[in-house]
């Protein structure tokens, strides 16, 4: 585990750069983390992040399919928002653990 200053705050991150404590999250932290990954967050991005945070809090299993059924964005749209690894990146910027691939 490492600590990193993001948007003026000290944030705990695991080896893969995922936040360990979801309560340290705020929109500025998300924005700066996403910028590092080359993404400028829009309202649509934040809607996805909010959905992920709420689902994670309820203990739901997160999959790309689940986000695709959320009504916020379809799977294709999710790829456009977070290219390369939509769930991997969106959960990172949402400050939640990397979803287990269930294998």
């Amino acid at each position: 585990m490492a600590q990193k200053t993001i948007a003026g705050q000290s944030i705990d991150l695991n080896d893969e750069g995922y936040m360990v404590d979801a309560s340290q999250w705020n929109r500025e932290v998300a924005s700066e983390m996403a910028k590092e990954g080359g993404i400028e967050l829009t309202d649509k991005h934040y809607e996805v992040l909010d959905f992920l945070r709420a689902a994670n809090e309820k203990g739901e299993t997160l999959t790309i399919r689940r986000v695709g059924k959320s009504g916020i964005v379809d799977i294709k749209g999710l790829y456009k928002l977070f290219p390369g690894g939509p769930l991997k990146y969106s959960s990172k910027y949402a400050g939640i653990p990397k979803p287990a691939s269930c294998i």
Binding site: Y79, G84, G85, S101, I103
Partner: protein
């Protein structure tokens, strides 16, 4: 007389029926199994059929042969569970009451979930090997195929037996080499995962293996649709991969009965406590095998280890004790790699597959994360063990909980 209902007479349901029938007093308990199909398939054997190593007759037996006489069996499709009223409705309109229930309805392949898949080219240039029909059709196709691009694509997670697609491409590589036409076959392994497998150490070992065999891996590919006329698969981020023959791991989902009963997640897997194996919605319902939404492999070995835990907790439940047995997600998978060799992995919810020996520390005989002949014999002899020991709920000399003994975790 109290009633136990077991939904599904596959690997998980059959094991539980045998364990419970032996343990419970027949004067006090009535056990009923409901399943719509009469044939039991030895599913690990499907993998060998496309390459002519097994045929259909090697993998089928009547389900009824493995149910203890004295257990009531109903061959009917299940409509839905009414968990609030302890009732199950069958498709013929009849209903069954229960005091306790075990859901073991498994997972199914759903080619209809992927646009373009289930059309005219199905079983002509597109095949699955998770059904007897697909495996047999592929055997027929490979016999006369003259070569080209063989693409294996995993569609979505989770899917049954996560090592099967790796085994498939390894066996295909050996098959075409032995036929003297390996130079005419280009093999590509396409997966939505970031590598050949989920966990880092096993991925490293398996990636090296695939590389040595000149099998190309395309990771992070999440399939959107298949264009069976153009013969390409397309991802959500608009990559296209051409194929001549497409072998697939279709979308896997739990039974639609689970959805109709309102007990499942998005993929129709029953929401289950990952340690006690109790349904999250009803105290008198337990879940075993692929039907549960546990964060571990969907595989017979998992159902087998979980069955021992479930048995303990079931006995706890009927005698009003707390559910003290905890499942750790233990999975143990042989990986056929071709040329009479195999690898073996052993892991659970928290511990990824590590190198070492199994089951005896330092002795084996099986090597973990190593490619050996003895591992292959382990897999071949397993079919006998499956029919004669495992399904009948007899003791196996392997602990239900994973052990670190024999594993090396100080590697870089």
């Amino acid at each position: 007389m109290k009633k136990i209902l077991i939904l599904g007479g596959g690997t998980a349901g059959t094991m539980m029926a045998n364990k419970l029938f032996k343990a419970l007093d027949r004067q006090d308990w009535e056990i009923t199994i409901v399943d719509q199909h009469k044939t039991h398939y030895y599913q690990p054997g499907f993998l060998f059929i496309p390459f002519g190593i097994y045929n259909k007759s090697d993998v089928i037996k009547p389900k009824g042969d493995f149910f203890p006489s004295g257990v009531k069996v109903i061959y009917q499709e299940i409509d839905r569970i009414d968990g609030d009223n302890n009732k199950v409705f069958l498709m013929d309109g009849s209903s069954l009451n229960y005091d306790y229930m075990i859901i073991a309805t498994g997972t199914q392949t759903r080619p209809d979930e992927t646009p373009g898949l289930h059309g005219e080219q199905w079983y002509k240039s597109i095949f699955d090997f998770y059904t007897i029909e697909g495996a047999v059709a592929l055997q027929r196709f490979f016999k006369t195929w003259e070569g080209g691009k063989l693409v294996l694509c995993i569609f979505e997670l989770p899917f049954k037996c996560p090592v099967a697609p790796i085994e498939f491409v390894c066996l295909a590589e050996a098959y075409f080499t032995e036929k003297g036409m390996r130079d005419k076959v280009d093999i590509t392994y396409v997966t939505p995962l970031p590598g050949a497998f989920t966990k880092p150490i096993a991925t490293k070992m398996l990636s090296q293996l695939l590389d040595e065999k000149n099998i190309k891996v395309i990771p992070d590919f999440y399939l959107e649709s298949v264009d069976s006329e153009k013969k390409v698969i397309k991802s959500y981020d608009e990559l296209e991969i051409p194929y001549d023959v497409l072998t697939i791991v279709p979308v896997n989902m739990g039974s639609e009965m689970v959805e109709r009963s309102g007990l499942g997640d998005d993929m129709n897997y029953v929401e289950t406590d990952k340690e006690t194996l109790q349904s999250k919605k009803h105290e008198n319902i337990f879940v075993l095998g692929d039907a549960a939404n546990l964060p571990t492999s969907k595989a017979g070995s998992v159902a087998h280890f979980a069955a021992e835990i479930l048995f303990e907790n079931f006995m706890n439940a009927i005698e009003n004790r707390p559910l003290t047995a905890k499942f750790d997600g233990h999975a143990n998978c042989y990986i056929e790699t071709g040329y009479g060799k195999g690898a073996l992995i052993d892991f659970n919810y928290d511990t990824e597959p590590l190198p070492g020996t199994f089951p005896l520390p330092g002795i084996g005989p099986f090597g973990l994360l190593r490619n050996t002949k003895i591992n292959h014999y382990g897999k071949m002899i397993f079919r006998w063990i499956y029919w004669h020991i495992l399904l009948r709920g007899k003791e196996m000399p392997i602990e239900a909980h994973m052990t670190m003994a024999g594993k090396k975790n100080n590697i870089d």
